[in-house]
Subunit: 149 residues, 2 copies
């Protein structure tokens, strides 16, 4: 956690957001990440996402089972979901989503939006062409050599 | 939406997951994406994330205000959050998260997990060292040339 925090502090000086993350497997750091959203014009480049992508490249796997992620701030819903998709086994964080809210990051707002029914969210959302789209799911079901996750 | 669905169908044949997305600005497609999780060993490479990253690179911005995302399936919480972070203005989808659940994708499970209090989630989660981590947030607050988002 000390390393994740140090990364978050250094990253502010380096033109990034105040967030750092470290992924540990078998007691060793296998990847680190910092927030590079504005620096890289990538709204998905949160510290945790950056660390997960780097760890997966290093491991040659889309799963990080057995790994712990140390993140300097409670993951936003994007990063928390990425942690689930990557099957990370344990999450440690320091600052809270309320702390992030207090310095004007929208994590808490997005948590609240996700819990709302689709019609009550702030981004207008419509559904159509499901019948056509189901074709891809039927093809997936029929595929014999698919890699599930 | 037709293009997003076609991408999702083609992607199954190309070794990817059954998902496609298209981002439109001022009536023109500015980026597309498909699910490349297993193909690229990147658990964050969902169709929407891939499309958002490509659109932001093209636009030279970490915001996609005024854009619509057409996605062949209701976004998972990771992608929905990324859509919020990118300030996309409208979401259109075809297949539902229940359809994804029916072919064994965990979108619905992750929606349920996010709504649970931290101690009730399936991934063990601990918080510590907040006092030390707040230093990065104080540095951020004090920074006069920061780019907010």
């Amino acid at each position: 956690m000390r390393q994740a925090i140090d990364l978050s502090i250094e990253n502010v000086a380096n033109g990034g957001g105040p967030f750092g993350a470290v992924i540990v497997k078998d007691g060793k750091v296998i990847a680190t990440g910092t927030n590079r959203v504005t620096a890289n014009n990538d709204p998905t480049a949160h510290a945790e996402i950056t660390a997960i992508r780097a760890a997966c490249q290093r491991e040659g796997s889309f799963k990080l089972k057995g790994c712990t992620i140390y993140t300097s701030c409670e993951p936003c819903p994007m990063c928390l979901s990425a942690i689930y998709w990557a099957s990370i086994s344990r999450i440690c964080y320091a600052n809270t989503k309320q702390d992030a809210e207090d310095i004007c990051f929208g994590d808490k707002f997005i948590y609240e939006e996700i819990e709302r029914p689709i019609g009550k969210r702030s981004i207008p959302t419509e559904a159509f062409m499901r019948d056509e789209a189901l074709q891809a799911f039927r093809d997936w079901e029929a595929k014999t050599d698919k890699i599930k996750y």
